[in-house]
Amino acid sequence: MVIIDFIVNQILRQPALFLGIIAAAGLIIQRKSLSDTISGTAKTIIGVVILTQGTTILVNSITPLSGAFNLLYKIPDAQALHPMGSDNLIKQYGSQIGLTMLFAFAINLIVARFTPLKNVFLTGHMLFWFPFIFIAIAIESGLKGASIIIFATIFTAVYMIFAPALIKPFVKKVTGSDSFTLGHPTIGLSLLSGLLGKWLGNKNKSTEDIKFPKQLEFLREITITSSIVMFIVYIVIGLILGVDRSKAVFDKTQSLVTFSLLQGITFGAGLTILLLGVRMMLAEIIPAFKGISDKVIPNAIPALDCPIIFPFAPNAVLIGFITSMVTSSITLFIIGSTGLFPYAVVPLTITCFFEIGTAAVIGNGTGGLRGAVIGSGVAGVLMILLVGFSIPFLQHTVSDWIIVFGGNDFSLWSIIAGTIGKLF
């Protein structure tokens, strides 16, 4: 009993060690050498630790903005958002996230093996973040113990099985083949863009027929782009508040420009560290998942990360990014003046690039340049509404995370799962 108690309470409750065990099992199944198994397991464990540290830096870089918005909307501290924080959620519930990953993936494999839905979800980081968000919703809904894992597993599995199947015909319009589909929270926005392209687009002129200025290529480096955007956000919010008032929530000694610049850079640094952590955490687990999938379901259709589709229409990605940054910023200004969302909603650089960039590629596939522009423009507006309406559903847990990475299926499904969770 002492041993079981030690394993359950000391090891399985430590997310880093738990994911290390999953990686070790994967490496042993793949019959890797002892040396590869040890280094792979160690890297996974280190990756989890780096991930939580990176999340802390990233979230801290936007925390002053929440204070600024509270001041701007005159929200008393008692009513302001006080999330436990995404880093704390991973520290406390990381093992539940790991178990949900395993169970949901197993259900996905069983469905792919025995039904005509042959897609298998293989986007590594999304296999982590979907359980993460559904576990947060389960906690918000007041669930305890095993029911948290059951709730998160059901929603993760439903998403992993049906969302990639829905977007598959649209992916085929872009790639011309059935070899893969998307497994990424862009799917809702991409479906919308694909349908808008179909109804309102014009296939005669593609995004790839136009010459795109080479000077804008730097936008593809998203850690840099998002740093610049966060810098601008700080400056703008600081000026709206007034330089003197902003000092109260920003920094008392630094000038607004210096402070904004450093916060923007810290955002990029936190994002880079977070990505390094995710990369190390999943470098061994995902190939193991794929190995199992290859063995069990030889004719599986992998549901993959969205940049896989970027080379089919690289111009569309940048057009979608720029269009949605414009439409979402306008939406933010209009909504900001109405006070509809009494908390920090900031431009979502990452979502505009990956999710809506993909939506533009899909819109181009069904409706050419016009389809890409209309699809991504509307997606930019919807993104702001989605993130704004999803924040209350995550206010005690990871609202700090959703204001950076939301506005996509994470937000949409937080609203859906959160509404259902309230029934319990």
Partner: protein, 97 residues
């Protein structure tokens, strides 16, 4: 024969580069080449030591000016034949060096 270190690169270094890595691993196994494949994001790729980089066409244009090693561009990350045609010769060359 030295063990090559190959870097696969995408925007975030977590998703599509991992897909490319897994395809590349398959190819290397078939060809009997002993190499270690790692993933990276486009920002940190130029400061990660390696022997050769595999990435998409758009990102290769960014990387080619900032790194000393060969950059091989692949447009379809899950097309093993394209990866083979684009990079196999270079890999054999690098092993001989």
């Amino acid at each position: 024969m030295k063990r090559l270190k190959i870097l696969t690169v995408c925007g975030f270094g977590v998703g599509s580069s991992l897909v490319l890595k897994m395809k590349l691993d398959e190819l290397l196994k078939e060809e009997g080449i002993d190499a270690h494949v790692e993933t990276a994001d486009v920002g940190s790729a130029s400061s990660t030591p390696c022997d050769v980089i595999f990435t998409s066409k758009e990102l290769s244009e960014k990387l080619i000016n900032s790194v000393q090693v060969p950059v091989i561009s692949v447009s379809n990350f899950i097309d093993k034949n394209e990866i083979k045609e684009a990079g196999l010769e270079k890999l054999h060359e690098l092993i001989k060096e």
